[in-house]
């Protein structure tokens, strides 16, 4: 799937996300899945702040997520799209 806002590159993985839209308006991601990958569960979101990704190319709200496999990744919410660095 492709939309106009997408700026794909080899270091960027666009993902679909299931998220918790909290009462205070904050969005906290719970699970995400790349188009051709398995679903990943987020055990904990350590912090979120606006930031940019030099590696994947993009900017947005950056969530530091701990996954159920123990890895920690940055998940970015750039306008209406979500991506993480490869």
């Amino acid at each position: 799937m492709y939309c106009d806002e997408m700026r794909p590159n080899e270091n960027k993985v666009y993902v679909s996300v299931i998220a918790h839209h909290r009462l205070d308006g904050e969005i906290v991601p719970l699970r995400f899945k790349a188009e051709d990958g398995p679903a990943q569960h987020i055990v904990r979101v350590l912090e979120w702040c606006p930031s940019h990704s030099l590696k994947a190319g993009g900017q947005g709200m950056r969530y530091t997520c701990v996954l159920d496999n123990g890895n920690t990744i940055y998940l970015f919410h750039d306008r209406k799209l979500w991506f993480h660095e490869k």
Partner: protein, 415 residues
């Protein structure tokens, strides 16, 4: 209370955003350019590498490629730049409620507060600079001074990613040696006039004999001298998202030169569609309709006509524009670009003086047609419904001036 004013300028704004989003290409010289096939083929912004190799804003694309072989040319993405501009402003607004936009990438912010010195301004500027760099991934240069003009000079003084303070008490040492053309509102023509009077630097301008300046440059001369001396007291106008709209206009460089009246009519109808739709969207009617043209050899002419009854009906605007064009400008073919704008705006809901001999039933019908067309376009897109006259030129029919050709110029004296 001492004023502390920041001028914050995003460095090579379009190019910086593109470089952020194109990790593979950012290590090469890169320029954001218009589409040469649509004849918008000029450099809009370049990254530092491209600038270093001599690429300048406004160069034709072929010229830029010749100057810098291997230049990466990318098309602009205005929606993305608007998004960044909005985010920049949101950051600035956390430091001051008086933020004035000057185009998409520049802003003034008045951070004066009781007990707040120019050094506090420097600290504030550094904080903003760092936040923009970490949060948005682009750099800004900030000028700090006690007036808008010096603040702007400061942001141009050192680039990129820098803060320059122009101290109000001894600014002379710092800026009087700069060329006069660095000052806001001193363009190439004024520079030439000033050079004719042997005024080369800002200091020369500040010390020049005032009546001579007034004689040469009119009241602008006085204004520039005041700028050079730091006597600018213009407040930072807090531009809310919807600034007072004084005119609604659009212009377009057509994909091919306009050579006949029919082609010109076609473009004016297309522009009138956009101008009319935007006036209706914002609840305005206009009484004064102006048209402008730019000939193939880049001469610009414009004229205007005031009509009796304010209107926002597309066909009325287009007809006035076409009539004006037919009367005045037929001899200037071929044309490279044309523009249309409406001024003397009044609110659409305001009571209107009717004319006994005017056909109001017809006008009401036309208004209903326009509002139906607006509704259809809002739901299904601009191209879905078009006037027959526009279809005569398919290349022109494809232009969507309302969404693609709205630019964001802001004058210093706006407001």
């Amino acid at each position: 209370m001492e004023r502390v004013i920041l001028h914050i300028d995003a460095n090579s704004f379009y190019a910086s955003v593109e470089c952020l989003y194109r990790p593979q290409e950012r290590r090469y010289p890169l320029s954001v350019c218009g589409d040469p096939e649509q004849r918008h083929g000029i450099v809009l912004a370049s990254n530092a590498l491209a600038k270093l190799r001599g690429v300048k804003t406004g160069m034709a694309v072929w010229q830029a490629k010749q100057t810098c072989p291997g230049l990466v040319v990318v098309p602009p993405d205005y929606q993305l730049y608007l998004h960044f501009s909005k985010m920049l402003r949101e950051i600035y607004e956390q430091y001051s409620d008086r933020v004035e936009n000057f185009g998409l990438d520049e802003c003034w912010a008045d951070v004066s507060n009781p007990g707040f010195s120019i050094e506090d301004g420097r600290r504030c500027a550094n904080e903003i600079r760092n936040r923009v760099k970490t949060e948005l991934g682009i750099t800004v240069s900030v000028g700090v001074s006690n007036n808008k003009i010096f603040a702007k000079l400061g942001s141009d003084y050192k680039k990129p990613d820098a803060v320059t303070v122009i101290p109000p008490d001894h600014f002379q040492d710092m800026i009087w040696k700069l060329p006069a053309s660095d000052l806001l509102y001193v363009g190439p023509k004024t520079t030439k006039k000033l050079r004719d009077c042997n005024i080369l630097t800002i200091g020369d301008l500040a010390r020049a004999y005032t009546p001579m300046l007034e004689y040469k440059l009119g009241k602008n001369g006085l204004m520039l001298q005041a700028f050079a001396n730091g006597w600018d007291r213009a407040p930072v106008m807090p531009t809310t998202a919807e600034a007072a709209i004084k005119s609604v206009g659009n212009s377009t460089t057509t994909p091919f030169d306009i050579k006949t009246l029919e082609e010109a009519r076609c473009v004016y109808y297309m522009l009138a569609e956009s101008v009319g739709a935007r006036m209706r969207e914002n609840g305005f009617r206009g009484r004064c309709i102006s048209i402008s043209i730019r000939t193939a050899d880049l001469y610009t002419y414009s004229c205007q006509k005031t009509i009796d009854v304010p209107t926002n009906i597309t066909s009325e605007i287009a007809e006035v524009a076409c009539r004006l064009f037919a009367e005045r400008y037929q001899r200037y073919f071929p044309l490279r670009s044309v523009g249309l704008s409406c001024t003397s705006l009044s609110m659409a809901q305001a009571p209107m003086q009717l004319d006994m001999f005017d056909n109001h039933a017809k006008r009401e019908k036309l208004e209903a047609v326009d509002s139906a067309i607006d509704g259809i376009r809002r739901r299904f897109g601009n191209q879905v419904i078009q006037r027959g006259i526009v279809l005569a030129e398919p290349a022109i029919a494809r232009i969507n001036p309302k969404d693609e050709h709205t630019i964001h110029p802001v004058a210093f004296f706006a407001g």
